[in-house]
């Protein structure tokens, strides 16, 4: 019998903050998204105060002050490092670990006998809690979709203490009947509305959906979900992290931008980022899109203004110099002084594995000099921190403040920055 578990961090970002700030335990705590915009993580105490997920911060400012809710800007350097540590521990428990997101991983437990599964999973939980300080929940079943449901039940029912198994098919219908269809993994808002209108409101009803009707009215994705609910595994666990086919980097600006310099710097900075990412995963890209979004200055309608340019590279590449050059050229071409820009982004398309590089004498871009410069830049940034050295096109620290993220309430990078380690002051 195939046994798959999903392991996820409880209130993950808040839990990361609590590792180094134990006084936050038992307090209402929230973490805000980029630009301190919306709530992206809440402690149980904050949930009890009625703070919804995704709520814009300005709407709960008063509640936050009144109830003394602790607020933090997202600290992705910290969260990413904590996530890596958790994944490393999971690898000691399972030969196959698929990292689904920063706080969720699927693991295969075929090597554990059914009678031992609960003890095994509780051991995983205890170790992660002790070694790292993050509480996790585990759901186990025969398919990923069912495991996700088990995980949800584990979290919602306190008596289960963050572990639940749907390995026993006899109990499936009873529990699937209690799960709303929109909470089934893979069922989006539109699909769930359509299902709801047609009387499919629970996971159990979805499991028993008439096949012919489903085939006629829904996509193959839904049918896969239905199969999975029936114990037929169709969504495989991959041990490999497939290199991403597109790499995107975009940011909304904290204040609208008018000048071409600011816009160009922001875009160039994104370009550097995606180029470095492509190199890190050893892929080269064939094409790039640069897009902008904003509002016409004297236009009172809510209409947004979009523009984008796509270039094909002369050869697939991941060189910063080429990617930044194409980005700045695109901005020059697209720039419109009547627009107040809100956001810009860069997408590298068709990222494919870098084959052993044939140094082509006829290449205009893949020259030895360009490789060497890139290598040195990557090296320096890895040693001293991202952004230590960057192309002039992405601006100086002063000029960057017009478009960089507000992170006014970010906690320390306790595990990734030498200067921000936890400091303990010994009494005299």
């Amino acid at each position: 019998m195939k046994k798959v578990a999903i392991v996820d961090g409880n209130n993950f970002y808040v839990s990361c903050e609590r590792i180094f700030q134990p006084k936050l335990r038992n307090q209402p705590v929230i973490v805000l998204s980029n630009n301190d915009g919306c709530v992206i993580s809440r402690s149980d105490e904050a949930k009890l105060l009625g703070i919804p997920m995704g709520e814009p911060f300005f709407q709960i400012r008063e509640l936050v002050e009144r109830e003394n809710v602790k607020v933090f800007s997202s600290n992705y350097a910290l969260y990413g490092d904590i996530s890596k540590r958790i994944i490393s521990i999971l690898k000691d428990f399972s030969p196959v670990v698929e990292v689904y997101s920063i706080d969720e991983s699927f693991i295969l437990l075929d090597h554990v006998s059914p009678s031992q599964i609960e003890a095994y999973c509780r051991d995983i939980r205890a170790k992660i809690l002790q070694y790292i300080g993050v509480p996790i929940g585990i759901g186990v079943s025969t398919t990923k979709t069912l495991a996700k449901i088990a995980n949800r039940i584990a979290k919602k029912v306190p008596e289960f203490q963050n572990y639940f198994s749907l390995l026993d098919t006899e109990i499936h219908d009873e529990w699937l009947g209690k799960v709303a269809v929109e909470n089934v993994w893979g069922i989006g808002r539109q699909t769930s509305k359509l299902l709801f209108c047609n009387g499919i409101r629970s996971a159990k009803q979805l499991k028993y959906i008439p096949q012919g009707w489903a085939k006629k009215n829904f996509s193959v994705t839904l049918r896969k979900t239905v199969d999975e609910l029936n114990g037929i595994s169709c969504i495989d666990i991959d041990n490999i992290q497939p290199a991403r086919k597109s790499i995107l980097c975009s940011r909304s600006f904290p204040k609208k931008i008018r000048s071409i310099d600011d816009l160009s710097q922001a875009a160039a900075s994104h370009a550097e980022f995606v180029a470095a990412k492509a190199r890190k995963q050893k892929t080269v890209s064939s094409a790039i899109s640069i897009f902008t979004r904003g509002k016409e200055e004297f236009n009172n309608s809510k209409e947004k203004y979009y523009d984008s340019i796509t270039y094909e590279f002369p050869e697939p590449t991941n060189l910063t110099s080429v990617i930044v050059a194409s980005t700045t050229r695109a901005i020059s071409a697209m720039y419109n002084e009547k627009i107040l820009y809100e956001k810009c982004g860069v997408i590298l398309h068709d990222c494919t594995p870098e084959m052993h590089r044939q140094m082509s004498f006829f290449s205009q871009i893949h020259t030895e000099k360009n490789f060497a410069i890139t290598k040195v830049m990557d090296g320096i940034n890895q040693k001293y921190g991202r952004g230590t050295i960057h192309v002039a096109a992405s601006g100086t620290i002063d000029s960057q403040k017009n478009w960089t993220m507000k992170s006014q309430l970010r906690s320390q990078e306790w595990t990734t920055k030498k200067s921000e380690l936890l400091k303990i002051i010994l009494p005299k």
Binding site: R25, Y131, Q382, L421, K423, I425, K428
Partner: protein
């Protein structure tokens, strides 16, 4: 046989504490025959081997103050804390007491853990788990920089 070795093979830039080897040569080598050192370069001893056993559970903490100097921890040093270890009697531990971080030597008794003060003028502290006190981790190593 290799006539010269390219930059790619030898450039390993590494952040501190990464466990990667430090670069040995930083320029192309031109040699008429393969260097006997070539294969040995990768096996350099690293700092991690001395101080990190369980990487996922190891954290670095900066210490300020000299009260633990008798234990070998001085002002400004970096304590290496392993959270995977069960504290043993006489271990130096990082503990959380009343939501504050402390570094102390611990005494493991049958039913309780006591944190010893280095200064005899101070009282020992008993960990009160009901109040949320806990051992955060065991100090396994300490890094003091002289310069």
């Amino acid at each position: 046989m290799a006539q010269h070795t390219t930059i790619e093979k030898f450039l390993h830039f590494n952040p501190n504490f990464s466990g990667r080897t430090y670069p040995f040569f930083l320029q192309k080598l031109s040699a008429g025959f393969p260097s006997p050192a070539e294969d040995i370069v990768d096996k350099q001893v690293t700092l991690d081997e001395f101080i990190v056993t369980n990487k996922a559970a190891t954290f670095f903490v900066q210490i300020s103050g000299n009260s633990m100097i008798n234990a070998g921890i001085r002002d400004g040093s970096i304590a290496v804390v392993d959270r995977s270890l069960i504290p043993q009697n006489n271990d130096i531990v990082v503990a959380v007491v009343n939501n504050e971080f402390l570094v102390k030597r611990c005494v493991i008794e049958e039913r309780q853990i006591i944190l010893q003060p280095e200064n005899p003028d101070f009282d020992p502290i008993t960990l009160n788990e009901d109040m949320g006190d806990y051992i955060w981790g065991v100090v396994v190593s300490c890094i003091s920089n002289f310069r």
